[in-house]
Symmetry: D2
């Protein structure tokens, strides 16, 4: 069987599956699961074409990794075939631990467990199934390989992950101005003392990258309508968990039932059944449950299910100012009155909290290799004062509630 496949990708044209091992990993149910997990959760409720999946992102990132490594080799960096394939695998699998709706449900289905940890567990399991073929991949992924730039390509402020997702998210949302200039940035990468650095000629491109990323936070990732939709979904799952744990019958797939019934810790994933169930859980388990709950006896579960299905979303206030306690109380009481619910139950019908760009803007450096041979952080290398402002973590506060209730 010919395993050298070519896959159409509207973003890059064609993506080549470069080896038999990679073909087999892509065919594994764990990886195929990513076909059913949308990259941007409910963002398609704002940008209808944002239907792209973790599967596409993982393949795209693998493709870019190949281009990055080709550039480095062209510049004379020595990279072995084994390192090449292991880096491609590491980026291919870096997100394999993501659960349904990507980031949205991380904290309700799996409180306290980061998807990176699950990625590691699943990669480790794959390594066993493939008789150790992923050993170097695992080393690179957890940053225990001596040549640090491989890990930095997989995970750093300017990693291949970001380059693909910013580019891809911008493509599918149709927010053209979020374009980060992937090809140009890739061509500016180089390695200096085993660290990934950017050539001085690329400073304007890095500035542009930081700016585009910032645009994408506010215009896409933290768009207020998406925040509202996602909060509703979180409330819905929380409600289902409370009902199940209180002994009610709540239809759900086998895999979803496990995560509704129990609050699991990372240690539980050492049990093969749990990891296996997680390996079957995707967006469709959630959407399927929502469609089953439309006529559920629990009025709140049914109502939220219907609202999400029909995109009747909460109204939302999102801004820099803190939400006043008095407003929260006012909303709560209006809901209790309108829906005739108890105080505890009302809490599923509104939401408040903070959102931030944290996931996108951690504090690590982007290193620039100056013509002088010096390595500077972009903040020093750039002529723009306060370029750091482009990366800083901004928190915004939100309050969202049903449209038929007035503040």
């Amino acid at each position: 069987m010919n395993k050298k496949k070519i896959i159409n990708d509207p973003v890059y044209g064609f993506i080549t599956i470069p080896s038999e091992l990679i073909f087999d990993i892509v065919s594994h149910p764990y990886f195929q699961r990513l076909r059913h997990i949308k990259q941007l959760g409910l963002t398609d409720y704002v940008y209808p074409a944002a239907q792209h999946t973790r599967f596409q992102h993982a393949l795209g990132a693998m493709h870019l990794m190949g281009k990055a490594l080709d550039t480095l080799k062209f510049k004379g960096i020595d990279i072995s075939d084994e390192e090449y394939e292991a880096s491609q695998l590491a980026i291919l699998l870096h997100d394999i631990g993501h659960g349904p709706f990507s980031h949205t449900l991380e904290y309700s289905l799996l409180p306290g467990i980061r998807h990176e940890s699950l990625s590691y567990l699943m990669m480790d399991q794959l390594n066993k199934e493939f008789n150790g073929a992923l050993a170097l991949t695992l080393k690179i992924f957890r940053n225990s390989y001596k040549r640090k730039f491989f890990h930095q390509l997989v995970s750093s402020q300017l990693d291949i992950d970001r380059l693909d997702y910013l580019n891809r998210d911008c493509f599918f949302t149709g927010v053209q101005e979020g374009s980060v200039g992937v090809d140009r940035i890739l061509s500016m990468l180089t390695v200096h003392r085993d660290q990934l650095v950017v050539d001085e000629k690329g400073i304007y491109n890095i500035e542009n990258f930081l700016n585009a990323r910032r645009l994408m936070y506010w215009q896409v990732y933290l768009h207020k309508t998406t925040v509202s939709a996602e909060r509703m979904l979180v409330n819905l799952i929380r409600r289902a968990q409370v009902l199940v744990r209180g002994g009610e019958t709540v239809p759900a797939s086998h895999a979803l039932s496990i995560f509704l019934t129990q609050e699991l810790t990372l240690a539980d994933f050492k049990t093969p059944q749990i990891l296996h169930a997680y390996g079957q859980l995707d967006d469709n388990d959630i959407w399927g449950a929502i469609k089953c709950w439309l006529h559920h006896d629990d009025r709140i579960l049914a109502l939220l299910s219907q609202m999400i299905t029909e995109r009747k979303l909460f109204r939302i206030k999102l801004g820099a100012e803190p939400i006043k306690k008095i407003h929260i109380e006012k909303i709560r009481e209006a809901i209790m009155k309108k829906y005739g619910t108890l105080r505890a139950d009302a809490s599923y019908l509104f939401s408040h909290g903070t959102v931030s760009n944290e996931a996108y803007a951690e504090g690590h450096h982007i290193n620039i290799l100056m013509r002088s041979g010096e390595v500077l952080d972009i903040a020093q290398a750039s002529e723009l004062p306060n370029i750091k402002a482009l990366s800083k973590i901004v928190k915004k506060n939100y309050l969202c509630w049903p449209k038929n209730v007035s503040l």
Copy 2:
């Protein structure tokens, strides 16, 4: 509330919601349902980015309708504001009756009912809810309006529907060479004696359009891997129906249960409950059920569910030659032996039949307005001998079966 919205669309840039009525129709649950129905069923199993929905297609077609009408007005054709909006609504709603997975399940969930009939019923229902605001829309849709070119824009060999879907499918599959030159074709449209015609200067573009459409049949719409995946889904639904109708418990959403339990006729849709249930049925009901059936006691239901989820598809033979009876029998027996099933049950584990490009290539004309004033069919107007060959209905025969069984 501002109802003049602008929606990002990677294909056309921005799509404007042109009126309050259209905004309200788009917000209706019937239309929102299209967000959850993929345009190309399981085609994303071959072209991973083909995730686009009927929702996007309907909006895109409305957008193109506006451009077509603007062109006609620019050429001096008189079009009233009412006709303008009604045409946009007619194309917006032309596919509203599509069921889950678009064409795939039409014949198993709703045998003998064409989606156009359901579109009409749903538009009629919307017309009631909106106090007759869709009266002209309905007339145009069913071709009872006197100015025939409006209907031809909605439904004919060169309608706005096709222009959007070919363009959009080509964009999202990444099959760039399927490009039909939408803008150019739109600019070549004109009206002659109330019929939609194409200016003689557009002959090469129509040839190209017919060729691109043909490319898309074979490269996308009837791709053998998609045929295989869709046949598996059809078998799965048939299996579920047999089990339900035989008294087994088969978990499913409320809406899906109705269509698994009963074999409905078009007349049944006059019952509000049935139409309402259909208005809640989308891809997620099917996918959700599949995820619930993974561990079902019926081995065949569980097996097909798992194979579809993990993309372990039937091997397929697809070609012009008829499938030999002896091969079918050989496969059937091999399956009976391999899976230890009865003859009747084995039939869910393979499939044979014909596929054709019929849905895309019916026999109607594309009229060309020659410089001489004559109107000719493209077959006469083109210098290409046998251009008709590009439109003819081709049937291919297929046989598909599990990979662990040999022919």
Copy 3:
């Protein structure tokens, strides 16, 4: 004759010539001249596809003006048909006074004359030829029309001119990340008290616009190789002028000869012959002369002609630090020695001075209309500290000289 033409444009798809008057203006020799003037001078020596002309830019800007006006009308701003056409004409003609190689030769061929003044003179001449049909166009162009936003669309910090040229330059250079999100910005424009303002929702887009513009300065407009090529061309023209004015025979077209022989002032353009000659002068007069001068007896004229033709460009040092006098002297003497020239003649074989982004970044405001109804400058409206840094005028110093001479 049908004057409602449609023109293919890779950037926007199709551009429609919207009226007979505009068709006739486009057909006029003054406007056709723009076909022979490249938008970016010698930039194609760095970005080979940057071959686009002022003709394309002018049509593209007219197209965008139509979209901007449609948006404003959609938002309820009253715009008459006459204002609509006059605005399109104003932007169509705003650059008609540009000379060969756009900005490059402005200061050597026409010292002290701004191309805007020549645009005005040529528009005035066209107005006479078209019997006053451009009266409102002229008013809008020179900002004497009472509704100020029309002029602001033609010329301001966020005018249609910039939107087209940034978009177009980014398209043809292939510097994809310079994308300014034209459609989005256009959709954010509105009018408040007859002033052009941007909706608050567009703040991130304006930030992105300012950033993209900055990227384009450094990556394209002030690219060091382009600066070098353009300085060589300026030296060449200066040399030709000196020779002509010293009585030497220097072959050139009729039009070019006029500008080589005399140093003209704006007043001279009142003479019909001068304006007429200018209306015949384009890039081809310069390139044609260069090709004639390849074998000229004046060694410096011949050498520079050959170097430019064969792209044997000066080496260049470009940076924030001032060029030291001593370096200039060193270069001058090395050239005198290498080429055996007099001190005065050596000055044609190197160049030093400053370049800046001034032409792109003047100090005017971009006004944001806040939800509160307040109008703020982007610098106040943005959360980014020091956003002004993106617009500030930066000067860089350069020194360029032949490669066979060492510093």
Copy 4:
């Protein structure tokens, strides 16, 4: 000096100069000359963005050659580094012998000399200058290398040359529907018994390629307005030659003068001066001369120069029917009367003849490798009857004449 350059190309993103030798060839004046020769002559008079040059095409073709060779290597075909570079050089240089305005002036400036012969002479000269480094390149170019598929990649019915120019011409004209699906076709190429063949899976793509090519003939390459402009240019050059050869003073660059004065044969190019002069001749010599001739004493030379400059083109009749002698005579007499010219002189003010798609559609095969192992020509392999019709040579007859003269 770093010779591993990356060049922006809007069509492919980035093009890498893969070796020092190729860098040096690209820097040679012969190759730099291609910067000043437009790929499509005067086509920009119809499609304003069709400004792209032979320089861009040559680099693009080299880039695609790299992709094609990578594909073949990926499929297991053995290709040495030397063969790889030689193939890239062969395609890079295949058009180096093109003269000003590409095909347009071939028959007037150099009657009876094919540009391929000049390409060979120039490559041979480069081979001498580079001490034999192009020996294998020359072998591949003239098809004397034993592994025939290398030559077929450079020159055949489905060569890299065509793939780039169709793709590039379609991109810059903005005729989007001419897209040939380059990436897909490249991925379908393979080698069978040292012959270049296309995998059976690519049949629809080849059909599409032939169709797209046909669209491009009629919509672009043989567009009637381009034919008219090019005939005018041919007449102008003929007029200049007659004047020069009759002893008149006709200003022109050194290089152009040679070709105006003498009628050269291929043998003359053995003289270094002639080859050298040709190596300096580009579009700018022609355009420069036209601008010098605007005020020439010869009324016909001046008139044609002015008409071409200002795009006041001949009216044209173009069609399948032969042009009647009587019409030609009528036009000739009307011109003689209108312009008061002699019969012989009138012939410069109109033109008649035939154009055909010959240059694009010669009779060679495109070989398809069937799953059965058989190799079939596309005409047999395709299900489309008469696919040959897409490739056949069609001749059209034209008559063009000044607009102020009536037929």
